[in-house]
């Protein structure tokens, strides 16, 4: 049996390489199918691994609360808001919170100027607690202090990218930048945090919260974000429930009304991302399944033609002593090898494609193929080969030697 297997593989390989172009075209369906699934999987897996790492670095014990307005209400001009009152309420009433800080995004211009340089950046008003919540520390100078907030000082802490974009000196401390027509003194430079999903986390400007409020003027309309980190003993779920109850009461929401805010955790975000990625993988997997099916039919078609074409050869082999299983095995293994080779080429192509995609899009995580994807791709293409090889192989094995010898 083993002997026959080796001999059949030998002759199958010979026949595959004797018709290189035809073999390639035959297996093209499999190649394309496997290549596309591997490309997608390698990109999404790379992304998912990267997202996992990134969110782990964000810390799993931090929460973000922001207002949420359903699209329908947005159309009606209704805007849900989180207000400083909500912040105060949470600070006073909620348990299990280590640090809490409001974040107020600049709602007019995010323009920042230094000398003749102008840049756009994410300008946020926040408090000293931000460094605990966001795990963001300064590499030079100091962070925002509580007194900065109380006195509405015009100072700023900037990220690495902002410094570069504005061509600020290596040490930008005590330089002055212009934000919204006001001069701010730079007191601190943040540690570099890297990218998430191609978005820089170093392109930020932090100013004292109260300063930002005064810059924006009309305090009644402010919509803030609240970021907080949990104390070590606190359970994420308990805190979330507590916050939700507090805010629902504060916003006078009836039991049949939906939340007008969203409480997000890093973990939740990660799960959402992974869900999307999983869905994409499944959908593409389905499409690829179909293309592998079509590829398999292509192989069957060519194998049937090949059996007809080699009828006389089959007759010769039978005349000199080939048994049914010799012929069956030869054609089955030929189909199997064809689709496996297709699978391998597809694997390489797909990984190349994935790497290309990952490298072309700046900031995209590197592609990676998990072992199960390789096993799946090869297993599935092998299965297709056997499935669609059986019919032609059986046809060949059942040929009558005399008829086959006479075949012209």
């Amino acid at each position: 049996m083993f002997f026959a297997l080796i001999e059949s593989s030998r002759s199958a390989l010979m026949s595959i390489f004797a018709h290189r172009l035809r073999s390639f075209l035959t297996t093209l369906g499999i190649i394309i199918g496997v290549a596309s699934v591997i490309a997608v999987i390698s990109v999404t897996q790379g992304m998912s691994a990267f997202i996992g790492e990134t969110f782990a670095s964000l810390g799993t014990n931090s929460l973000t609360i922001q207002s949420y307005t359903p699209f329908e209400d947005q159309m009606k001009g209704i805007r849900a808001r989180l207000t400083p009152d909500d912040l105060e309420l949470i600070e006073r009433r909620a348990d299990g919170i280590a640090s809490i800080t409001p974040i107020l995004y600049a709602n007019r211009s995010s323009q920042i100027k230094y000398g003749s340089q102008t840049a756009f950046s994410q300008i946020m008003g926040t408090t000293y607690a931000y460094q605990d919540v966001a795990q963001s520390y300064t590499q030079a100078g100091r962070f925002l202090a509580q007194s900065d907030n109380l006195t509405r000082r015009r100072i700023a802490v900037i990220g690495e990218d902002v410094r570069e974009n504005l061509s600020l000196p290596e040490n930008p401390i005590n330089e002055y930048v212009e934000i919204g027509g006001e001069w701010f003194k730079i007191v601190g430079l943040l540690d570099s945090m890297g990218d998430i999903m191609g978005m820089s986390r170093d392109d930020i400007v932090l100013v004292p919260y109260a300063t930002m409020v005064s810059l924006q003027g009309n305090q009644a309309r402010t919509d803030i974000q609240i970021q907080l980190s949990l104390s070590e003993s606190a359970e994420l779920e308990d805190v979330t429930t507590q916050l939700s109850t507090l805010l629902r009461n504060a916003h006078n929401l009836g039991s049949d009304e939906d939340d007008d805010f969203r409480i997000q955790t890093a973990e939740q975000l990660m799960e959402e991302f992974n869900q999307i990625i999983g869905m994409v993988t499944v959908v593409i997997g389905g499409i690829v399944g179909i293309s592998l099916l079509v590829g398999g039919i292509g192989i069957m078609n060519i194998m049937l033609v090949s059996v007809t074409e080699r009828t006389r050869e089959i007759g010769i082999c039978k005349a000199i002593g080939a048994k049914r299983h010799h012929i069956l095995m030869q054609f089955l293994i030929e189909a199997l090898l064809l689709s496996l080779l297709g699978g391998l080429i597809g694997l390489a192509t797909g990984f190349g494609l994935g790497t290309l995609i990952a490298n072309t899009i700046p900031g995209f995580p590197p592609a990676s193929i998990p072992f199960w994807a390789i096993a799946l791709a090869l297993g599935f293409s092998g299965f297709v080969g056997v499935l669609f090889g059986i019919l032609p192989a059986a046809k060949a094995a059942n040929l009558d030697p005399i008829d086959a010898l006479r075949y012209e």
Binding site: F3, R312, I316, C317, A319, G321, K323, R324, H325, I402
Partner: protein, 235 residues
């Protein structure tokens, strides 16, 4: 005991409503080291005879003992095994595998005997050298002349050391000079002790043999032993 023993062999084909009697009650014995020719015009049943003798086809009726084995009750796989062990085929159109070189063609029957590659090569080389093609082993069939191709086919038939060599019009596709060469090779093989059965319609070929069986309408018409080597092949 006779190497081949046929008793009351008949082979009927149904052609629509008509029944064609390709073989009609054949009784014949072939002994070891016989050099026998079946002759007859086309339609005389000699091709069917060859198919039956070569275990490619089964008779409608009658008994066939080959080297002591009753072939009657064997299935396709067992017949394949018998063909591999007992019979060496030499065809008019050579019937070589087009994509295998000379050595590969000669090695092919040994694969079905589960003989390893190294030994296969060695045995096949010996067979090729025997037919005088030791220097053409890596040529593909289409790179060889007709005579060389037939030599490869003869080597392939010899390589398994079969009890009989069955040749079907072995020189039908060859020119007269090559025909002489091939028939000389046959004579040598006979002298070495092989049993040869040649199916032909050419008297010159038949004259090489020691025994000529003439067929007509599916029956044996004449069966005579002749003096060896009387025929002169003219070019």
């Amino acid at each position: 005991m006779a190497l081949i023993q046929l008793q009351g062999i008949t082979k009927y084909y149904e052609m629509g409503s008509q029944v064609v009697k390709a073989l009609d009650g054949i009784d014949i014995e072939v002994l070891k080291n016989d050099y026998l020719a079946f002759i007859g015009s086309s339609g005389s049943g000699k091709s069917t005879m060859l198919n039956i003798l070569g275990c490619l086809d089964k008779p409608t009726d009658g008994q066939y003992h080959l080297n002591g084995t009753n072939v009657e009750n064997l299935d396709q796989n067992e017949l394949s095994e018998i063909r591999n062990k007992e019979i060496g085929f030499i065809f008019q159109s050579f019937n070589l595998l087009p994509r295998a070189n000379a050595l590969g063609n000669v090695m092919q029957p040994l694969i079905y005997r589960n003989i390893g590659l190294k030994q296969r090569k060695q045995v096949a080389m010996e067979a090729l050298e025997r037919v005088g093609l030791g220097d053409r082993t890596d040529h593909l069939p289409n790179q060889l002349s007709g005579g060389q191709r037939q030599r490869v086919a003869i080597a392939r038939a010899l390589v398994t050391h079969p009890s009989i060599l069955l040749a079907d019009e072995p020189t039908g596709n060859l020119d007269s000079r090559t025909t002489i060469e091939i028939m000389q090779l046959f004579d040598e093989l006979h002298a070495e002790g092989h049993t040869l059965i040649v199916v032909t319609h050419e008297d010159e070929i038949a004259q090489h043999c020691q025994r000529i069986v003439e067929m007509k309408d599916g029956k044996i018409f004449n069966d005579q032993v002749v003096e060896k080597g009387t025929a002169e092949l003219t070019s």
